[in-house]
C-alpha cells in the first residue's frame, strides 16, 4: 500500500491545506477537534471533493484537481468506519457485513460473510439488529463490514470515541490486534494522543487545517518538531531558557538561574547562537529525587542538580504528580511552580513525600529535550 495525499479545501471560516504520505502501516491523524482530520478522510473516500490537490492510492489516481480526475466513492473501494459506526439499522449483523459483497456470487458472498463474522467473534450475533448490540459489538460489526470486501486501505474516524472509558481502553488494544491480523493499511483519526500512540505506527499531527509534523510515533514523543507540536501532543514542562553554548552533541543553557546541559541531536544539527531563546521540555517521570539517606550525591551520576520544594501535589491513583518550586529568586516558570514531577505511588510512600517536601532534584542531560524553534 502506498498513499500520497495533497489536499486543499476551503470551507466558510476554515481551510484545509495538507499533504502527507503513508506506506504499509497504520497512520493516525491526530490533533484537536476541528483541525480537519475527518475532512481529510472524507476527501480520501471521495465523500467531499477537494478544491485542489492530488490523491493517489497504490498507483491509482483517485483525485487530481489539475487534470479533473475524481473517482466516485463507490469505485474507490476503501473501507470506512464512521464515527458512531453508521450501521444500517434496518439490517441485521449478517446483512450489514454482507452489504459490500454484492459483486460476489451468492455462495461466495455467504462464505465470506461467515468467515468475517467468525474471525471477529460475531457469529453468535449474526441475526441481531444493530440497536440490540453494545457499543463494543457495534464497533466490531462496523469493522467487519468495512473489512469484508478486503479493501487495500481502511479509514477509521474516531473508532473509539463512542465508547465508555474502561471499554475504550480494552477495545483500543483489540482494534490494534485486528488491524495487525488483517494486515490492512489504515488511516485512523483521533483527538486522543494515547490512542494515536497506541494504534499508529506513524502519526500525522494536525492543527487548524494544517499538518505540523509527520513522524514515526516514538520520534513524535521524543522529538516533537516544535513547541506547538509539544503542546498538542500534551507534553508537560515545556520551558524556556537562554543558550550559553551549543555544539552538535550538547547544548548548555541557563534557566531560572540554573546552568543546565542537554543532549543535542546531531541528526538535527540544531545550533542556536549564544544568548538566543531556547525551548525545551523535561518529562515529569524523568526527574529524579535524590535520596537523603544515600550519602553525598555522586557528581558523575547526578547532573543538572537543583534544589526545590514541593508546593502542590495530585493523586492519580497509581502515580502522584508533584509540583516543585525551585529555591531560586524570581517568579516560577509555570505559575506557582517550576517543574511537574511524576513518581510511582510506591516511591511516593517510600520517600514519605507526604511529609518531606524539600528535595534535591537531578535531571540527566539525555532527559532534557531541546525543541527547535518553529
Amino acid at each position: 500500500m502506498a498513499l500520497s495525499l495533497e489536499v486543499r479545501k476551503a470551507l466558510p471560516g476554515f481551510t484545509l491545506d495538507v499533504a502527507w504520505e503513508a506506506g504499509d502501516e497504520v497512520v493516525t491523524l491526530f490533533g484537536p477537534s476541528g483541525a480537519g482530520k475527518t475532512l481529510t478522510l472524507q476527501c480520501l473516500a471521495g465523500l467531499v471533493r477537494p478544491d485542489a490537490g492530488r490523491i493517489v492510492v497504490n498507483g491509482t489516481v483517485f483525485f487530481d484537481g489539475a487534470r479533473g480526475v475524481d473517482v466516485p466513492t463507490q469505485r474507490r473501494r476503501l473501507g470506512y468506519v464512521f464515527q458512531g459506526y453508521a450501521l444500517f439499522p434496518h439490517l441485521n449483523v449478517r446483512d450489514n457485513v454482507a452489504y459490500g459483497l454484492r459483486h460476489l456470487i451468492a455462495s461466495a458472498r455467504r462464505e465470506r460473510t461467515r468467515e468475517v463474522l467468525e474471525r471477529l467473534g460475531l457469529a453468535d450475533l449474526a441475526s441481531r439488529r444493530p440497536r440490540e448490540l453494545s457499543g463494543g459489538q457495534q464497533q466490531r460489526v462496523a469493522l467487519g463490514r468495512a473489512l469484508a470486501p478486503d479493501p487495500a486501505l481502511i479509514l477509521l474516524d474516531e473508532p473509539l470515541s463512542a465508547l465508555d472509558l474502561p471499554l475504550r481502553q480494552a477495545l483500543r488494544d483489540d482494534l490494534r490486534a485486528v488491524l495487525a491480523e488483517w494486515r490492512t493499511a489504515a488511516v485512523l483519526v483521533t483527538h486522543d494522543f494515547t490512542e494515536a500512540y497506541r494504534l499508529g505506527d506513524r502519526i500525522v499531527v494536525y492543527e487548524a487545517g494544517r499538518v505540523i509534523q509527520t513522524a514515526p510515533r516514538a520520534e513524535l514523543l521524543w522529538q516533537p518538531a516544535s513547541e506547538r507540536v509539544a503542546g498538542i501532543v500534551g507534553i508537560r514542562n515545556v520551558l524556556h531558557g537562554t543558550v550559553l553554548k551549543a555544539t552538535p552533541d550538547r547544548i548548555q543553557f541557563s534557566w531560572r538561574g540554573q546552568l543546565l546541559e542537554a543532549v543535542n541531536s546531531p541528526s538535527r544539527s540544531y545550533l542556536p547562537a549564544p544568548d538566543s531563546a531556547l525551548a525545551f521540555f523535561i518529562r515529569p517521570e524523568y526527574v529524579r529525587l535524590i535520596r537523603k539517606d544515600r550519602g553525598s550525591p555522586d557528581p558523575g551520576h547526578h547532573m543538572n542538580l537543583m534544589q526545590g520544594r514541593v508546593v502542590g501535589e495530585a493523586d492519580f491513583g497509581t502515580t502522584w504528580t508533584l509540583y516543585v518550586r525551585l529555591d531560586a529568586p524570581g517568579a516560577p516558570a509555570q505559575g506557582e511552580y517550576d517543574l511537574e514531577i511524576e513518581v510511582p505511588r510506591l516511591v511516593y510512600e517510600i520517600l514519605d513525600l507526604a511529609r518531606d517536601r524539600q528535595w534535591q532534584l537531578s535531571i540527566h542531560r539525555g532527559s532534557i529535550h531541546v525543541l527547535p524553534s518553529s
Binding site: 473516500a45 466516485p72 473501507g79 459490500g100
Partner: protein, 217 residues
C-alpha cells in the same frame, strides 16, 4: 342500490395512488437531497394544490386537457380522449393527492442519516442501489404513511373531479359525487350506506398508518 360509484372510486384511487407514488418518489427525493436554483419555487408549486380551491384547480386542469388545451390537443391528435372520462378522474385525484405524498416522503428522506448513504457508497454500491437498499427502506414508514394519505385524499376528491370528469352516472360518478347526487334527490338511505362505507374504509386505512408509525427498526 348502485355500487358502481364504489367500484369506480376504488379503480380511480388505486390508479391515481400508483401514479402519485411513481411521480412523487423521485420528486420528493430531489427536494429532500438536492440543492438547485428554483428549488423554493418547486416546493411552492408542489404545495399549491393543497391550498388552492379545488374548483380553481379543476378549472385550470380542464383548460389544459380540453380539446383546445395545450395537453388536450396533443392527446386529441393521438386519438386519446381525457376530459370527462374516468381517466380525467384519475388525473384529478393525482393532482389533489400528490402534495400530501411528496411532503411526507420528502420528510422521510430528509430524516435518513446521510452517513448511512455515504457508508453504503464506500462499500461499493452505486447511488441507485443505495437509494433502494438504504434510503427508501429507512424512509419507508414516511413513504407508506404518505401513500395512505394520498389514497384517502384520492378517494375523497370532489371538486377537481367534478370540474374535469363531471358526474356522469355509470361513467365518471365517483362515490363523493354519487353521495352528493343522492342527497340532492333525497335518497338518504343510500347516501347513508355509501357514506358509511367511505368512512369505514378511510378509518381503517388511517388506523393502519397509526400502526406503521409505531413500527421501529
Amino acid at each position: 342500490m348502485d355500487f358502481f360509484p364504489l367500484w369506480l372510486s376504488l379503480k380511480v384511487s388505486v390508479t391515481a395512488t400508483i401514479l402519485t407514488v411513481a411521480t412523487g418518489l423521485p420528486l420528493a427525493w430531489v427536494l429532500a437531497l438536492k440543492r438547485f436554483p428554483g428549488r423554493d419555487l418547486a416546493e411552492a408549486l408542489v404545495v399549491l394544490p393543497l391550498v388552492l380551491p379545488p374548483t380553481v384547480l379543476g378549472y385550470y386542469l380542464l383548460v389544459l386537457i380540453s380539446r383546445q388545451g395545450a395537453i388536450g390537443r396533443v392527446l386529441d391528435a393521438a386519438g386519446i380522449e381525457l376530459a370527462f372520462t374516468w381517466r380525467a378522474a384519475v388525473l384529478a385525484a393525482w393532482v389533489g393527492s400528490s402534495a400530501l405524498f411528496i411532503k411526507a416522503a420528502q420528510a422521510g428522506f430528509e430524516s435518513v442519516d446521510r452517513r448511512l448513504e455515504q457508508a453504503a457508497l464506500t462499500l461499493g454500491r452505486s447511488p441507485w442501489s443505495v437509494f433502494w437498499s438504504v434510503t427508501l427502506p429507512l424512509a419507508s414508514r414516511a413513504v407508506m404513511a404518505g401513500t395512505v394519505l394520498a389514497f384517502c385524499r384520492a378517494l375523497g376528491d370532489f371538486g377537481i373531479t367534478l370540474m374535469v370528469a363531471g358526474s356522469i352516472p355509470g361513467l365518471t360518478q365517483t362515490t363523493p359525487l354519487a353521495i352528493y347526487d343522492l342527497v340532492q334527490s333525497n335518497r338518504m338511505a343510500e347516501a347513508n350506506t355509501l357514506s358509511l362505507i367511505a368512512v369505514a374504509t378511510v378509518a381503517l386505512l388511517l388506523m393502519g398508518i397509526g400502526r406503521l408509525a409505531r413500527l421501529r427498526f
